[in-house]
Structures are given as structure tokens and as C-alpha cells.
Amino acid sequence: MTDISYSSPKTIDEAVAAMVAAKGAGRILAGGTDLLVQLRAGFVKPGSIIVDIKKIAEMTSIEDKGGGSFKVGAAVTGMQLHDHPTFKKAWPGVLEAINLIGSKQIQGRASAGGNLCNASPAADSVPALVAAGATVTVQGPKGRREVAVEKIPAGPGRMTLEPGEIVVSFTLPARPAGSSDAYLRLIPRTEMDIAVVGCGVNLTMKGGICTAARVGLGAVAPTVLLVEAAAKALIGSKLDANALEAAAAACRAVCKPIDDKRGTIVYRTKIAGVLLKRATAIAAERAAKN
């Protein structure tokens, strides 16, 4: 009845080969916190091949490359990242975003790679990774390539990956002293919800002036957005009320949200601005200490 099969390749080449052989019916299993829900609900098509990538070392390892740069395997769990000795200091915003994916139980399994490839516009880790300027290493039948994280999602449930391609790892760039980041999301409860809006802000401060900024915004459009206009409003400012309001307005302006069970268009748009201001304040405070 359940002609769905399971494989657990030991190398990325094997995994890619399995995905190619599956001819579009391959499903990558990292933490399984989305895939298993779909499986149990009967949403995974018969004939699918589950490719468990957790036996591949590169997928599950964290590498501190110095200067704030990290390489994080696509299947590294939130808890693993939380317990890493140096990651938190360098990328607190990315860590808090990944650590907001589900409960502590989910944290033991869920990964940023899975979160990205589930391709939900409300994925918590993605706005923070976009703000961080993270790139993604993708491997497929034609070899490896590096892609900016914001280029991966194509729409709800859809990605720009070519057939057979797999997300292998994330690379977080090195950056100067005075840099830090923050991620905030709005949920109706204090835990266990999908973001109504998520906002990641990554800043570099020098002498009280913002010299670099990136802003990622989630759950307000079909894909997570890199809000360049918001970053522009922050750069060169002292993060004063006018700059913050201009950045918040830029965030509101790019919102193309929907009314659904989690929020309304009006509410999401408003909250995008609120979170931008709050996340910026936290990132700036952290940056001042770095």
C-alpha cells in the first residue's frame, strides 16, 4: 500500500544520485518536522522516495571560519546550533530565529535547511538568514553553486532549485566589529505558533552611525523579502526616530500579505513596521557591545 521507500545515503553525491533517480518524487528528510506531518496526513504521494541526509557529515556539521563567518550544514538542528560555543555571540539573531522553529522537541530535529526548503513564506529562520546575507551551497547533477538565500524560495511551497539539487549548507559572511543582528516575530501566543510577521535586522554600527544594514521580512508576501529600502533608510543614520520610521514605512510599503487564519492584511502590514523598529533596537544594542 505504502510504496514509499526510504534511503539514507552516506555522501552528497549518493544523495544527489538518489534525487535524480527519483525523477521528481524524491523528498529530502532532514529533521522531518514538516515531512512527517505531511506523511501522517497522507499528503506524500505514493512512489515517493525519502532521502534521509543526516548520515552525511557535511550536512550535520558546524564550522567556525573565524571573523564571524560560519558554515552550517543544512540538517544541523536548532538545538545543536544553540549548544555551539561561538555561534551565539556572532549571530544571535540567526540563532534566535532558528530557535523559534517549533518547540524544544522540534528543536531537537528541525534545521534551517528544512525550514528554507519547506518554502513557507512564514519560515522563521529565513528572514534572519536573508538579513545576515547568508549564501546557500547547492549541489546537483551539474555540481555545486552558491546562491543568496533569498533566491531559493519561489513562492509558497516552491523553490528555484533545479531537479536533483540539494541544499547542502549555509555560509554566514565575516563582518566587521560593531555588527550584530536580531530577529523578532509576532505570534498570538508566546510559543508554538507560525509567524504572523517575522523581521530580521542585521547591522554594523560605527561611532553611533549605522554603516551597513540588511532587513529580511517574512509572512507578508509569497516569499521572504529582502527590504533594501528599509536598509537604505537605516544606513548613515543614528537610528533616530525619523530613520526608524522611514525604515518601518519601507517595510510596510513592500508588504503584500493575505488575510488568513493567522492575521489580516491591515494587521500584518502594521506589524511589519512595529517589528522593524523593535528588532533594529535590539540589533543596535547588541552591535554596540561587539
Binding site: 500500500m1 521507500s5 526510504y6 518536522t33 512527517l36 524544544k104 522537541q105 510559543e191
Partner: protein
């Protein structure tokens, strides 16, 4: 659609089982191994009633494939008491009336033990956030949180 043969350790006992490629550890435990102490409340990782430990990390067993347990160490509620001695958390949950209907209790106990193994001096807020993935509809959480805090205090006292 042949079944997969999995070799694992459950509550310290070497255990082998056969499972469908799509079968979750929760179903293997409950339906094949008779370990029904692990409960299903939602099947989607939202209630925590099926919490187990997998290689020392707490997970929802509804969201782990049986096949993934190959070579791994599983701990369930059935392994929490040692012989005829209840774990301190089990005792305190009874003493503090931290359970009413009891369906969420195995999951709360597994999650609480995992917390105290990492941190035996949690604040109330830390306890509440750690346990946010476990739903309880009977108690309003008050007595559960108190029981966990009290056991943590006892552990610190004993360690002194």
C-alpha cells in the same frame, strides 16, 4: 514495500523491529513494541504527548521515522523509574497533583527530565518556555511548573 529492519536500544535494552518506511517511531513503540506509555495527542508535533529521548535529545516521536532509529538510543516513559523507585519528578508530580487526567503526563515528565539534566536551576520563565511544546488542558500548568521547580531545588540541595 518491504519492511525495514531496525536495530536500536530502547530504555537500555537492545531492541530490533521491522517497520514500514513511512512508519513513525511513535507507532512502532505503541503498536509493535507494546510501549503505550508514549501518547499520541495530535500526530503533528504540536502537543508533546509523544515526547521521547533520541540519542539524548528530546523529540516528538510522531515526527521521527522508525527507520531513523537505526543504531540510536531511545528512552521512553517506561524507562524513567529505576526498578521500583520512581524518578524524583514522577514522585513530585503525584505529590503536587501535577496531573489530572494524566494523558499529557508522560510527555511532560520526559520533557522536564530533559530540562533538569541540562539546567538544574531554571527560572520559572525558563521552565515555562521549555515546556511550551507540551500541552496540558487540565491543570493550567501551575502545579506542573511548581513540581519541576521543586525537584530542581531538591536536586541542587542534594548536590550541595
Amino acid at each position: 514495500m518491504s519492511k525495514l529492519h531496525v536495530t536500536t536500544t530502547i530504555n537500555g535494552e537492545p531492541t530490533e523491529f521491522l517497520c514500514e518506511p513511512t512508519q513513525a517511531v511513535l507507532d512502532v513503540l505503541r503498536d509493535q513494541l507494546g510501549l503505550t506509555g508514549t501518547k499520541e495527542g495530535c500526530g503533528s508535533g504540536d502537543c508533546g504527548a509523544c515526547t521521547i529521548m533520541l540519542d539524548g535529545r528530546m523529540v516528538c516521536s510522531c515526527l521521527v521515522l522508525g527507520a531513523e532509529a537505526e543504531g540510536k538510543k531511545i528512552e521512553t516513559i517506561e524507562g524513567m523509574a529505576q526498578g521500583d523507585h520512581l524518578h524524583a519528578l514522577q514522585k513530585k508530580f503525584i505529590e503536587f497533583a501535577a496531573l489530572q487526567c494524566g494523558i499529557c503526563t508522560p510527555g511532560f515528565l520526559m520533557a522536564s527530565r530533559a530540562l533538569l539534566e541540562r539546567n538544574n536551576n531554571p527560572t520559572e520563565t525558563e521552565v515555562r518556555y521549555w515546556l511550551a511544546g507540551n500541552l496540558c488542558r487540565c491543570t493550567g500548568y501551575d502545579k506542573i511548573v511548581r513540581a519541576v521547580m521543586e525537584v530542581a531545588a531538591d536536586m541542587r540541595g542534594a548536590a550541595r
